[in-house]
């Protein structure tokens, strides 16, 4: 039935950080070495339209993996291909362009620009892509509508609840119609109810808009309805579980 198209290919990726950049008591520190390993020979393939959770305890390498897929960081070893482009070969400028054009981000702490309204925050990715004002207005309205926040469009983030802020962040992540949305612990600052609603919202957008979602979490309760779960421990993929017959997008 489905003809999966590979969107992300993480091939034998390792990421090591110099010792002075992280805490000295880090458990992943290699003995007699001056670096610690956040990811160690990780492999992962993600098809377009998938809804995938990366699960694992704190320090397992979830954020590092998302940063690498999102072209925020570069692997020490291995290759990451996003949409057919080997990102480990890209210049910083090309990585910036790739992020701007192809990827949407949702952060744990919402990271909305506090002096902008919800609508202006959602508009920002379009602004940096040089989209015309009329189209910006239209797409912002659509994005806010898709997360159910049209009525709160002119509110600043400090007047929104945690759940609403994260929905604005989701609208901001999808407004420029990226091929991939990365959400790093998007529910960590939300209560269970809001967290469940947010995952449902992302899943709904995945189904309706065909967007590929990869999100990280350490909350086991959110994984019940997730069709694919990749588990990380100590920087290594220890399991990759697919729910049978699920194919979104």
């Amino acid at each position: 039935m489905c003809a999966p198209q590979e969107l992300v290919n993480v091939a034998a990726v390792s990421r090591r950080f110099p010792l002075d950049a992280i805490a000295l008591d880090n458990p992943h520190q290699h003995k007699n070495s001056n670096f610690v390993s956040a990811l160690n020979n990780a492999n992962l393939r993600v098809n377009a339209g998938e809804f995938l959770a990366i699960a694992g305890p704190s320090g397992s390498g979830k954020s590092t993996l998302l940063n690498l897929i999102g072209c925020i960081d570069k692997p020490t070893e291995g290759h990451i291909v996003v949409g057919g482009v080997d990102t480990s070969e890209l210049t910083p400028k090309a990585m910036t362009t790739l992020r701007r054009e192809k990827i949407g981000f949702v952060f744990q702490t919402f990271n909305l620009i506090p002096v902008f309204t919800a609508a202006e925050n959602v508009e920002f990715p379009l602004l940096i892509r040089g989209v015309g004002s009329r189209e910006r207005r239209m797409r912002v309205a659509e994005a806010l509508d898709s997360v159910g926040l049209s009525a709160r469009a002119n509110q600043r983030p400090d007047l929104l609840s945690g759940g609403e802020r994260q929905r604005v962040a989701v609208a901001r992540a999808i407004v420029h119609r990226p091929t991939l949305v990365l959400a790093d612990e998007p529910t960590a600052n939300l209560d269970t109810n809001n967290a469940t609603q947010l995952i449902d919202l992302m899943q709904d957008l995945n189904v309706r808009l065909g967007l590929t979602f990869i999100f990280s979490t350490h909350d086991a309760r959110l994984l019940d309805h997730t069709p694919r779960i990749v588990r990380l421990t100590d920087g290594q993929v220890i399991s990759d579980t697919h729910a049978v017959g699920v194919c979104h997008g």
């Binding site: 950049a21 925020i72 960081d73 981000f105 702490t109 990271n111 620009i113 202006e120 940096i128 901001r172």
Partner: protein, 409 residues
């Protein structure tokens, strides 16, 4: 770009207390420069017009010899046919009057003691036509037409030293153009106060014809030309020069600025002081703004990281910081201009008096001129200062490691 400007504008007011402190610093700098510059401009103007109206005039005419050599005999470098020259000059545009002058020196005596004097002989009628102000503290000015007694104005210091008052007599002794010693008795008509103590201690003024009798010469030292406005000096100078061709003596023109050595020295000194103040203000604004901008950058680390993660070009981040600095500078300059001009108006209305400056006997007004070029200059100074201050934080912000910035607490 409009949204970016909006973002910059809103960010400026994000931390109100810090913005207000920066605006106070920037605005204070502009206000200070405006008040000091305005006061200096007032002082320059006062000194310039004082020098011109106290007898310097706008243009003076001398023989070329006057500057080529020292006098061998009294007035032997003076102007001979000065009435003819004065008549030729008087018809020029912007000319308010032309007055002959003789500068001479000698001894004066009250019968009990004697002292040296610096004499100036004038034609009282022509002198009045120039509109020059003679500050007479007692008695009266020289009469237009001498009658009987030769009248003299003496400086306040001379009057005190010689113990004379209006109506008292003095004897002036001077060397004539033939090299003989000659003397005349004068009656003190009034006591003058030029405001310059060294001058008042030796100053004596008599009418021109009496001086010519004393010196046994029909020559004068120079002709002083008064104009309708100081601003017309260059124009009048250009028009007068051709009129002096064809005279029996070679004559030269000198503008007031060429003769006002004291004015030039004062101006040069105060300009240097002003530049020094400007440099201090520049660095004060620069250092405090660097600090403010760096604090802003650290506070917004995660926000900048988010923008970079979303694919904002690093140049945009630099532009954003520079825009914020520019807005802050423009606001600060506007605050400073408003405060400086308002304070200037208040100070002028109150008419604050300052103690007499060194070498002067008169109190001075603390008056502030509103000078557009100073307003523009001081505004540009703080704008440049703030823009420079924003470069380092802007570059540091644009070079942030995104992953680290996103993890910033």
């Amino acid at each position: 770009m409009g949204k970016f400007l909006l973002l910059a504008f809103r960010n400026v007011f994000r931390n109100r207390r810090r913005t207000i402190m920066t605006l106070l610093m920037v605005g204070g700098g502009v206000t200070g420069l405006l008040l000091v510059g305005g006061f200096f401009a007032y002082m320059y103007s006062g000194t310039r017009e004082g020098a011109i109206n106290n007898g310097l005039g706008h243009i003076q005419i001398f023989t070329a010899e006057h500057f080529a050599r020292d006098e061998v005999r009294v007035l032997d470098t003076g102007i001979q046919n000065w009435r003819q020259v004065a008549a030729a000059v008087k018809t020029g545009r912007h000319i308010r009057g032309v007055a002959p002058r003789i500068d001479f020196n000698g001894m004066l005596s009250n019968g009990v003691k004697s002292s040296i004097f610096m004499g100036s002989a004038v034609d009282p009628v022509e002198e009045k036509s120039l509109g020059f102000v003679t500050h007479i503290s007692a008695g009266k000015n020289l009469a237009d037409k001498p009658s009987g007694e030769i009248e003299a104005l003496v400086g306040a210091g001379v009057a005190e030293s010689m113990n004379v008052k209006p109506g008292d007599g003095l004897t002036l002794l001077a060397v004539t153009s033939d090299g003989a010693l000659n003397g005349i008795d004068v009656q003190v008509a009034g006591i003058v106060n030029t405001g310059i103590k060294e001058y008042d201690d030796h100053y004596v003024r008599i009418d021109l014809s009496s001086a010519q009798r004393l010196l046994q010469s029909d020559r004068i030292t120079n002709l002083v030309v008064g104009l309708d406005a100081t601003e017309n000096t260059d124009r009048a100078y250009g028009e007068l020069a051709p009129r002096l061709h064809g005279q029996t003596q070679k004559l030269v023109l000198r503008k007031w600025i060429d003769l006002a050595t004291w004015y030039k020295q004062v101006r040069s000194l105060f300009n240097t002081i002003y530049i020094f103040i400007g440099i201090i203000v520049f660095f004060m604004v620069l250092m405090s703004s660097v600090n403010t901008m760096l604090m802003t950058m650290f506070e917004r680390t995660r926000e900048i990281g988010t923008m970079l993660a979303m694919g904002t070009p690093r140049m945009w981040i630099i532009t954003l910081f520079m825009l914020e600095a520019l807005l802050l500078a423009l606001l600060g300059a506007a605050v400073g201009l408003a405060a400086g001009n308002l304070l200037g108006i208040l100070i002028n209305a109150v008419d604050v008096r300052l103690p007499p400056p060194p070498g002067s006997t008169e109190a001075m007004s603390f008056h502030v001129f509103h000078v557009p070029i100073i307003m523009i200059g001081s505004s540009l100074l703080v704008i440049v200062s703030l823009m420079l201050a924003s470069i380092l934080p802007a570059i540091r912000a644009s070079r942030m490691q995104i992953a680290e910035a996103l993890a910033h607490v």
